[in-house]
Amino acid sequence: MKLRNCGNFFLGLPAFVWLLIFYALPAIVVFFIAFKPVDSNGGIGDGWTLRAIQELKDPSYPAIMWRTFWQGIVSTFVCIAVSIPICYQLARIPSVKVKNFFLLLIVVPFWTNFLIRIYAWKVFLHPDGALKHLLVWMGVIPQSTMLLYNQWAVLAVMIYTYIPFAVLPIYSVSEKFDFSLLDAAKDLGASSFYAFRKVFLPGISKGVLTAVMVVLIPAFGAYLIPDLVGGKDSHLVGDMIARRVFVDRNLPHASALSAVLMIAVFLPLVAFIWFRKIFGSKSSDDPRLQLKQQDTKQRLGSSLLFTPENGISQTQQKGEEANE
């Protein structure tokens, strides 16, 4: 390894060790607890058993898994669908003061306590609250409908909570986007919508991908939100796990559920990294790291055998070819 890489290695070492001890290790421990029996006092017994894994076959779980999955996907989709137009307009505001003002409006609630915000929603969606009265008066819903304690409340609060997470990465790429490209697109005959679709969206794709990761993964693990504003039939995996730990004191069972969640989250992450490597890295403006799309097959192969030396020397070679 070159000297420069060694320097980077040592710089990253403390953070890496911290993550190893306080993130990786506990995750691995949790994984192993899934294979342990329950203790009558609510702790962990001795020996090993597959009981917790077998208990995962609980008939109510598939519905919960599915709900967690689709709510995660829908929240992510809505957050991003809402964030993109917001960031598009925001980035185009010429005055920096006005821009920052609106950005602050989006981010400031983010700084207040998470729990308090959820309680605020409980008040807002309350059966005796202003919104309910307004909707009944307008004739939109009958008196008997509950706005709270169901999966729609959970979905709404999840979307509300995760929008700032989506806005920030999308805004940062929108800011850097060269809007004269849209002028160029229109000059060439594209309608505003076509330009938006074919030039703006691909231009911010990296931000959108980050936003997806940053919303989807926490959404899969949401627990306070379904716990507080959800009802009997709107449990998600997150609050199931919490229930098993705090109420049932069945740690192995909770761990088994956690393990399932970890794997479910881990897979898209791996797919994301693999995907990025095939279609160019984040620094794809650097011609030396650019790979021709025709070489996808070769790259597929090299990515599977990825080692730092291999990867770098091959990309350098390709880069030199591309430059000639």
Binding site: A184, A185, D187, G189, K198, D285, N323
Partner: protein, 378 residues
């Protein structure tokens, strides 16, 4: 035959008037340049033509059709932006094909047209590269191919050579000229570089502070500038101020303070006693080490001292002091320079110029002399 006409275009940004009542027309198939210093409004005019800015008043008429209110995607005008504005996430092929895809042309036609235009700009074989992998000159050529593929009526180029280094600039200038001959579309350049404009334009419009100072062929602008601004902005010149005396048919005499009486061609029919300003280009003077024989009564003779000599091989530039005036002169070396007695710093010299070669200006502003302040060394 007229292809584009601007009628009374006015544009203000707040209190600032960027374009004031600009009107002129451009002929089909020609190379036209909008020339002027930064802030003169040329880029704004280009953007109004392309549809990116609305004008406050006035009309833009393309091939008989009023396009003033049309959005850019409906106009048969294409723009090559100063920074090229290539789509970074698309390959060269996709960039060039964009205009066709966006207007719904069928894929088969696209497959045929794109290679043709890539070949036109000499970029065949670059289809799969991304803009980040191209050099500045290559990117410009992609931008041009991309703009031409829709077969617009007019191609607008915003300072196309500004981002290129000198050698590349010279090459691209010739390439653009050749391209124009091959394609036959009207080209409109926006530039602040008068040499660029002069070398390839059929007509040039010189702008200053939002107004058109003069429109003409490069030769007209160089030899017959109407204002001191045009005279000083394009090339180098010498300004003199004097009073007209002795009208004599097509000619008259000019009395400049401290100078002997000069003979001038009076094409502007100026009255006796009028104060005029004249511009004489440096190459119109002849320099002599010894007093020449005055053969022609219409030749003017001045005596002065050499203050500055810059030898440039094919020619030499002199700055010669005559009374209170410092005259810039270019002497072409027609013979073997080593055989000639060279004129050195401090030498007394005689300058002569023909009465026909001094040009009377319609407008003179002392500020314009500042444009001459830096010697033009090439």
């Amino acid at each position: 035959m007229e292809i584009l006409r601007f009628e009374n275009i006015t544009k203000k940004y707040g209190q600032n008037t960027v374009l004031e009542d600009v009107s002129f027309s451009i002929n089909a198939g020609e190379v036209f340049s909008l020339l002027g210093p930064s802030g003169c409004g040329k880029t704004t005019l280009l953007r109004i033509c392309g549809g990116f800015e609305p004008c406050d008043s006035g009309r833009v008429i393309l091939d008989g059709v009023d396009i003033t209110d049309q959005p850019p995607n409906e106009r048969a005008v294409r723009t090559v932006f100063q920074n090229y504005a290539l789509f970074p996430h698309m390959t060269v092929w996709d960039n060039v094909a964009f205009g066709l895809k966006a207007t719904g042309v069928d894929p088969k036609t696209i497959k045929e047209e794109v290679p043709k235009y890539l070949e036109l700009v000499q970029l065949s074989g670059f289809e799969n590269r991304k803009p980040a992998q191209l050099s500045g000159g290559q990117r410009q050529r992609v931008a041009i191919a991309r703009a031409l593929i829709n077969k617009p009526k007019v191609l607008l180029l915003d300072e196309p050579l500004a981002a290129l280094d000198l050698k590349l600039r010279q090459r691209m200038l010739i390439e653009l000229d050749t391209l124009h001959d091959n394609v036959g579309i009207t080209f409109i350049f926006v530039t602040h570089d008068q040499q660029e404009a002069m070398s390839i334009s059929d007509h040039i419009a010189v702008l200053k502070s939002g107004k058109i100072k003069q429109i003409g062929t490069p030769t007209e602008l160089y030899e017959a500038p109407k204002s001191s601004f045009v005279a000083a902005f394009i090339g180098d010149t010498n300004f003199f101020e004097g009073t007209v005396t002795n009208l004599d048919g097509d000619y008259c005499d000019l009395q400049i303070e401290d100078f002997p009486l000069l003979h001038l061609y009076n094409d502007k029919n100026v009255k006796e006693g009028a104060l005029v300003h004249i511009s004489i280009r440096p190459e119109k003077f002849s320099v002599y080490a010894t007093k020449p024989e005055k053969t022609n009564p219409k030749t003017n003779l001045l005596f002065g001292k050499v203050e500055e000599v810059i030898y440039l091989g094919a020619h030499t530039r002199y700055w010669i002091r005559v009374q209170d005036w410092r005259i810039s002169v270019i002497k072409q070396h027609y013979g073997y320079a080593l055989d000639e007695r060279s004129i050195k710093w401090g030498d007394p010299v005689w300058l002569s110029f023909e009465a026909d070669n001094a040009y009377m200006l319609d407008q003179y502003l002392e500020d314009d002399e500042e444009l001459l302040a830096l010697p033009d060394l090439d």
